[in-house]
Amino acid sequence: MLSTDMDILKTAEDWRRGGRGVAIATVVETWGSAPRPVGSHLVIDEDTNFLGSVSGGCVEGAVITEALDVIADGRPRMIEFGVADETAWQVGLSCGGRISVYVERVD
């Protein structure tokens, strides 16, 4: 299925109503040549099903891992990815851009 921003947020709502733990990741800031624009969403459930994207596929894995923690403890987090940030994350954007992603649980 082709996922648009519209059905990504609708899916988040449906998954939550179906009783699953759900997190929404949103691209909130970009620098340089980021692959997905600010406002793009990725939704993740507790079983690591996901829909949408926050990059061209480079950092989704790390966001999903982080989202599982957010689903577990309910605390929203801001995560930064990019070549400039080598301290916290091993994954980077191969395109050389930098992005901030806000991950929050649907309560």
């Binding site: 519209m6 947020l9 609708k10 949103t26 909130v28 600010v38 605390r75 649907v106």
Partner: protein, 230 residues
């Protein structure tokens, strides 16, 4: 995000109304501001800016940063003419997340069999367009070649703030169209809003290629602020 906020955000989108989710990323606090409430919000100026540009992003007020998730209504494409090109165009528009509706008074053309996945209205444009509503999130594409059908639709679109108006036909056909629209009172500037000949110049030949060139032109109009050249 609270589930009720998420539901309301989805409901607003389904109802084709703009809405903005305001997130204080430090505290995680959130609120949803509906289009009609924007003016009375403490962040009114910032929210209006967000709505105008249709772009999500951070704003700052009194040393606090708020992320605005700006949700504009889905873009609508009204196609006049249930013709061969429209059959190719409808699935492309759907794939691009656009709401497409086909209008054609000729009942032999406007059948659900020919357009299985999109709404088809077998009615005259001047009858149905007031109900469909042409707003600034709407593109209108006239493809019948028949002035009796196309002209009333173009007239309605020119009186609206539709972001894209396109009409099929050769330069000669368009010259005659310009003449008719001028006679009915439209100015040169009004008529210049019509993209004709329709579609980006990609040398399109087949109905699917013409549909692609039209869709590309619609996207180019929608995203004109981002284009590298104009």
């Amino acid at each position: 995000m609270r589930l009720d906020l998420l539901s309301r955000l989805n409901a607003e989108r389904a109802a084709r109304r703009a809405a903005i989710l305001v997130t204080d990323v430090e505290s995680g606090e959130q609120r949803l501001v509906l289009e009609m409430e924007v003016g009375s919000d403490p962040l009114a100026q910032e929210l209006q800016g967000g709505l105008r540009q249709g772009k999500s992003g951070f704003v700052e007020r009194d040393g606090r940063r708020y992320f605005l998730t700006v949700q504009a209504p889905p873009v609508k494409v009204i196609v006049i003419g249930a013709v061969h090109i429209s059959q190719a165009l409808a699935p492309m528009a759907k794939g691009l997340d656009l709401d497409v509706t086909i209008v054609d008074p000729r009942t032999a053309f406007a059948t659900p069999e020919r357009f299985p996945d999109v709404p088809v209205v077998a009615e005259w444009p001047d009858v149905v367009l007031p109900d469909l509503g042409i707003d600034r999130y709407t593109a209108l594409v006239a493809l019948t070649h028949d002035p009796k059908i196309d002209d009333p639709a173009l007239t309605a679109a020119l009186r609206s703030d539709s972001f894209y108006i396109g009409a099929l036909g050769s330069r000669k056909t368009h010259e005659r169209r310009v003449q008719r629209l001028t006679e009915s009172g439209f100015t040169e500037a009004d008529i210049a809003r019509i993209h004709a000949p329709i579609g980006l110049d990609i040398g399109a030949v087949s109905p699917a290629e013409i549909a692609l060139s039209i869709m590309a032109e619609i996207v180019a109009s929608l995203r004109k602020e981002r284009r590298r050249s104009t």
